[in-house]
Amino acid sequence: MALIAIIDDDPDIIEASSLVLKSKGHDILSAGNPDDGFKIVEENNPDLIILDVMMDEPDDGFFLAQKFRREGFETPILMYTSVSKTIGFEYGAGEMVPVDDFVEKPISPDQLVEKVNNLLKEK
């Protein structure tokens, strides 16, 4: 079982995601803004990071992902996106942002678990 950091400014999303992942036996750390997010990752070195794409500002998630990579963290990152692909931003895994996979909100527990397991397996 793995240690997973969830960084999202929506406490309800953290709560729901934590519950899903805890039910599969994972341990969860969480943070509500980019600064705290960086701190918990730095201090606990989790097996996987789940990162919301838009926190305070559009692109906050992108910048934090870039910061992790720049600082040498190779932890797999799963990014939560909430902007529909039809509206403007279009991205695929690894495109522009150094993340490993995406999950579009609203999150379905099955899909989340599947993606988390895949990333943990690759590791």
Binding site: V20, I87, K105, P106, P109
Partner: protein, 491 residues
């Protein structure tokens, strides 16, 4: 010319000849004028254009040849005859050189005279016809020249670029605006130009030029210059020949930078709205999916909490949708305003009463400081209530427990100034800057539990500015904020 009754002037100093000829010609259907000397004759010619003029060569005042010269100058199309008894070869030649049509030797018989005059009339007709043709040609030439210069002026005045190329891709015509819309310095008539067009445009023009028959259809493409400095909309239409084949393509280049900017703002706004709408939905759906997932165990109290959280998220979603509807109504100026005289004191007292429960919950002290006399303002009651409800409820939400709210009101020149100060969490300078933007919400350790749509202050600003007022904010982080509203007084 009146062909039925030709007009004739007889200038002769011999009364007998004048009168005799007049009678004769009137019987033949001529309209006859006579003059007894050159000067009178010239005066008559100044006022009338005669078909024919007979001039006696020898008159006491002015020489017949001088009279002839003057009449030809005045009336080049009048047919003139020289009549004289002193015929000579020299005067005949001279009078013809000066413009006389023919020479009538005196004495003449009536038949001779009429024969000569009829020939003269035919000549007069030819002269008039030639004159008419010449005038028509001149007029139409003038018209063509005028039309051309008018078209040119019109096309040059158009702010859009107009470029015409032939089947060889060579420039046939262009106006000045074309140059900056293609971002080039120069174009030459006859020069190959397709390589100067942006790629997408070249493709369209090339395809149109290669068509066998002109299709009555325009194609449009858009391109940008200097990475978005300017956006151009290019419309290409084929120019047909008489037989339907393609003679060339006319390209109209329109600057659409303004539209593009608006479109971008609109897209950003739509994307922000979508994000704001989706966020609470994602949270609620997340809870529902967990509750329905049999593999995840949750306790009854957890389930209750999830339902409470979901309800609260949906309520704020509803607030958000209502705020969005208000904003769109305001933008479209669809708001049915009822302008009336408002007592600002009364409105603020009612607002505080309305928010009493929240004020009591946070144990806040509200101080109202109003002078006795305040001018009324003219505005829609609901809009002004909305402004102060938003500002005062912010002062409550972002306050500290047992804090205070001070409300001051004063007359300030042409404005009524209302200050709402709180002892709340305040703002960082960078937060202050974005405060009135749609969907901006300060996010820090103090604001986590505070709900809001992020539209309240943008609505406040829109309403106040629609009354030509102004809203300002002063703030010290962790100490408090003051919102200052200036509303014009209608005196």
């Amino acid at each position: 010319m009146n062909t039925e009754n030709p007009t004739i002037l007889i200038i002769d100093d011999e009364k007998g000849l004048r009168e005799g000829s007049k009678r004769l010609l009137m019987n033949e259907g001529y309209i006859v004028d006579t003059a007894e000397n050159g000067a009178t004759g010239i005066l008559l010619v100044k006022d009338n254009e005669y078909d024919l003029v007979i001039i006696d060569l020898k008159m006491p005042d002015i020489d017949g040849l001088d009279v002839l010269t003057e009449i030809k100058r005045l009336r080049p199309n009048s047919v003139c005859f020289i009549a004289t008894a002193y015929a000579s070869y020299e005067t005949a030649v001279e009078s013809t050189r000066l413009g006389a049509y023919s020479y009538i030797p005196k004495p003449f018989t009536p038949e001779e005279l009429i024969f000569n005059l009829e020939k003269g009339l035919k000549h007069r007709q030819l002269l008039l016809e030639a004159e008419r043709l010449k005038r028509e040609r001149e007029e139409s030439l003038l018209e063509v020249a005028h039309e051309k210069s008018r078209l040119k002026t019109i096309i040059e005045s158009i702010s859009s670029g107009v470029l015409l190329v032939n089947t060889g891709g060579e420039v046939v015509y262009y106006n000045h605006a074309t140059l900056n819309k293609l971002a080039i310095d120069d174009l030459q008539i006859g020069q190959y130009s397709l390589d100067k067009l942006p790629d997408g445009l070249t493709d369209i023009v090339t395809r149109m030029l290669s068509e066998k028959k002109t299709v009555n259809k325009s194609f449009t493409t858009q391109y940008e210059i200097n990475n978005g400095d300017m956006y151009i909309d290019a419309t290409c239409s084929p120019v047909p020949q008489h037989d339907g084949t393609v003679a060339g393509v006319v390209i109209v280049l329109k600057n659409i930078t303004g539209f593009k900017k608006i479109e971008k703002i609109k897209n950003q706004f739509v994307s922000m709205v979508a994000h704001e709408l989706k966020t609470p939905l994602a949270a609620v759906l997340g809870y529902i999916r967990i509750m329905q997932d049999e593999s995840i165990h949750i306790s009854e109290s957890q389930q209750d909490e999830f339902l409470t959280r979901s309800r609260s998220r949906l309520n704020s979603l509803l607030d958000l949708v209502n705020d969005l509807l208000d904003i769109s109504r305001m933008e479209e100026k669809k708001v049915g305003r009822e302008i009336e005289e408002l007592d600002i004191k009364e409105i603020i007292r009612n607002t505080i009463k309305f928010l009493e429960f929240e004020i009591a919950k946070s144990k806040l002290l509200v101080n109202i400081n109003f002078p006795d006399q305040l001018p009324v303002i003219k505005a829609d009651r609901n809009e002004i209530i909305r402004v102060f409800t938003n500002i005062i409820s912010n002062a409550i939400k972002y306050n500290k427990e047992k804090g205070f709210i001070d409300i001051d009101c004063s007359e300030n020149g042409n404005y009524l100034t209302i200050k709402v100060s709180d002892s709340g969490i305040g703002m960082q300078p960078e937060e202050k800057e974005k405060l009135f933007q749609e969907f901006f919400r300060a996010k820090n350790k103090y604001t986590r539990e505070i709900t809001g749509t992020g539209l309240g202050l943008s609505i406040v600003k829109k309403i106040i500015e629609s009354y030509h007022g102004k809203v300002e904010v002063e703030s010290v982080f962790e100490k408090g904020s003051t919102f200052i509203v200036h509303l014009p007084i209608n005196k």
